[in-house]
């Protein structure tokens, strides 16, 4: 399906029939037990967290959940977390580290919630804290971009050792609508903005931002089993690679991966060299 335009991918990523994280978790880990709360303020339903067995290994699963029915969507705040959601995620990730459980993070959000309460309780601080702490978690972290990875709200559970993206998912600095309204002062030019933004799985793979693209067959909304099987296979490979790795190596590889992200020009005394993700 690689001939699709960026905007067609955006529409597929937001397809109303596309499975959300709770469906993925059910398929991947039927014995999943959800654990609630950040121990400080509330239980943010935009993020689901808990423990479940995947391929015979107990894992901590953290997922942004958009909700399925209208009622469910409201309950999960359309997958837009508040600071307490990110703090719950970090609490459960620290717990995973303690019990040496690998972590699977499933990203699916338009972005962190922009609201008064979110600002009062430190949305910026909550995201920043997760970015720093995930870098040092002494257990493997696998990340899946399920459908929509929007901005810092996605990245706040998205730092890891193996980053996977479904072929019809998108991952970007903000929504194409938001981007169009900044660049063109016109949100209706989102389709054009999408083509500029480099937000498809192929684009991100080319920049080495992600490690693996997962196939979906005709699309997760049509035949989810194909995508779920691909995910299991990818996780199996990733676990094989990381579960026995020494912690020092795991962490230094994780750092190197992010350390090299960015494209710029550095002039030496006599030569010009272009640094990029090598």
């Amino acid at each position: 399906m690689s001939q699709l335009t960026a905007w067609e991918r955006v529409k597929l990523a937001r397809h109303p029939k596309r499975p959300t994280a709770q469906t993925v978790i059910k398929s991947l880990s039927p014995d999943f037990i959800e654990l609630h709360g950040d121990r400080s303020f509330a239980d943010d339903r935009a993020i689901i967290g808990g423990i479940g067995t995947i391929l015979g290994v107990p894992m901590t699963i953290i997922a942004e959940e958009k909700g399925i029915t209208t009622e469910d969507k409201i309950k999960h705040n359309f997958g837009m977390p508040h600071p307490e959601g990110y703090r719950k995620a970090m609490r459960l990730m620290k717990q995973a580290e303690k019990f040496k459980r690998p972590i699977l993070c499933i990203i699916d959000t338009p972005g962190a919630y922009p609201g008064i309460g979110a600002e009062e309780r430190g949305q910026a601080q909550a995201i920043a804290f997760n970015l720093r702490e995930m870098m040092g978690l002494k257990t493997p972290i696998f990340v899946l971009v399920l459908s929509e990875g929007g901005s810092g709200g996605a990245l706040a559970i998205g730092v890891g050792d193996h980053i996977m993206m479904y072929e019809n998912s998108i991952y970007a600095i903000l929504s194409p609508e938001g981007f169009a309204s900044i660049i063109y002062k016109d949100a209706s030019k989102a389709d054009h903005a999408a083509s500029l933004m480099k937000l498809t799985a192929d684009d991100l793979k080319a920049f080495d931002i992600i490690d693996e693209i997962l196939p979906e067959g005709e699309g997760l909304h049509v035949e989810p089993e194909i995508g779920f099987e691909a995910l299991k296979k990818a996780l199996q490979q990733a676990m094989k690679k990381t579960l026995k790795m020494k912690t020092d190596k795991l962490l230094s590889d994780r750092y190197k991966k992010y350390r090299h992200m960015g494209v710029f020009l550095e002039k030496g005394e006599n030569n010009e060299k272009k640094q990029s993700n090598d």
């Binding site: 430190g122 949305q123 920043a128 600095i173 933004m197 750092y255 992200m261 020009l265």
Partner: protein
């Protein structure tokens, strides 16, 4: 009678002529551009030199004007102690965004710098520090690959030389024109701070007007001590976006330095005139070595 009227008429015409002549002889007073600057908060016209010597603070209403990176260094560090590092890294246009090169050029012209972040080593009352300053005059101090790289290198430099680290932020957030690459700079800079943190070194983050978006949600919020400069806008989401989302007016003083203090997000709010003194005191608490 008619003679009298004619005479008056003549006199009047003469008078009008002279009046016109007189007005045309007024030369406009030559006020050089920028000699006076209008304070946007209180409307007062401030003599530019007075503003300069007053830390770029309005002498009438205490409004803190935005300062560029060079001026910020002047106000903060010992005179002549700054040694810049990584000053020769330039942005490219990795996503081929329209007009990005023009915006970069404009930023360079406005600031005389290569990018929105300058960094190096310096001393504050003799205490050596690694210091970096974001300049909001360069593309709103937004963080793309270069800013992310320079922040990361500064953190690593501080880490390698066991220096306390001070970063002044002033930024609208991640740089849209570099898309996902900008987003990843949030992870990169925060990652570097993880290792800096492990070394037991001090990071003081100073959030100035404005510090929002991806910069607020990464290194700027990760100080051991987070200082908000007085009269700063600090937050994650933009006020316009929040308003559109919740469809109600925002409370008075939303996302100000005081708001952040009241909600426990910063350690202290510091007036610009007290900044150097405050930094020095905090550095002293953590300073083990000899004075340089």
């Amino acid at each position: 009678m008619n003679d009298f009227l004619d005479q008056r008429k003549k006199q009047l015409e003469e008078f009008k002529k002279n009046v016109r002549k007189k007005t045309t002889t007024y030369e406009p007073i030559d006020i050089p551009d920028g000699l006076f600057i209008k304070c946007e908060q209180c409307g007062a016209a401030i003599y530019e030199k007075n503003l300069e010597t007053n830390h770029m603070i309005c002498p009438f209403c205490d409004a803190h004007f935005r300062v560029n990176a060079k001026k910020r260094l002047d106000l903060t560090i010992d005179h002549g102690s700054f040694k810049e590092i990584n000053d020769d890294i330039d942005s490219v246009n990795p996503l081929n965004m329209p007009d990005y090169e023009d915006k970069l050029e404009k930023g360079k012209k406005m600031t005389g710098e290569h990018e929105a972040f300058i960094s190096g080593t310096a001393e504050i009352v003799g205490i050596p520090v690694a210091i970096g300053v974001l300049d909001s005059h360069f593309m709103m101090g937004s963080m793309g690959s270069v800013v992310g790289e320079k922040v990361t290198r500064l953190i690593e430099h501080a880490s390698n030389h066991k220096l306390p680290l001070i970063i002044f932020s002033a930024s609208g957030g991640a740089r849209m024109q570099e898309g996902i690459l900008s987003l990843m700079q949030m992870a990169k800079t925060s990652a570097a701070l993880y290792y800096f943190d492990q070394k037991g070194l001090l990071f003081i983050s100073v959030l100035t007007n404005p510090t929002t978006g991806g910069v607020a949600a990464s290194f700027a919020s990760l100080g051991d001590i987070n200082i908000a400069e007085k009269s700063s806008l600090i937050g994650f989401a933009g006020a316009r976006v929040i308003k559109q989302t919740i469809r109600q007016d925002l409370p008075e003083g939303f996302q100000t330095d005081q708001f952040q203090l009241e909600h426990g997000q910063v350690d202290l709010v510091v007036h610009r005139k007290d900044m150097r003194k405050t930094l020095y005191k905090l550095l002293q608490f953590h300073h083990k070595g000899e004075k340089a």
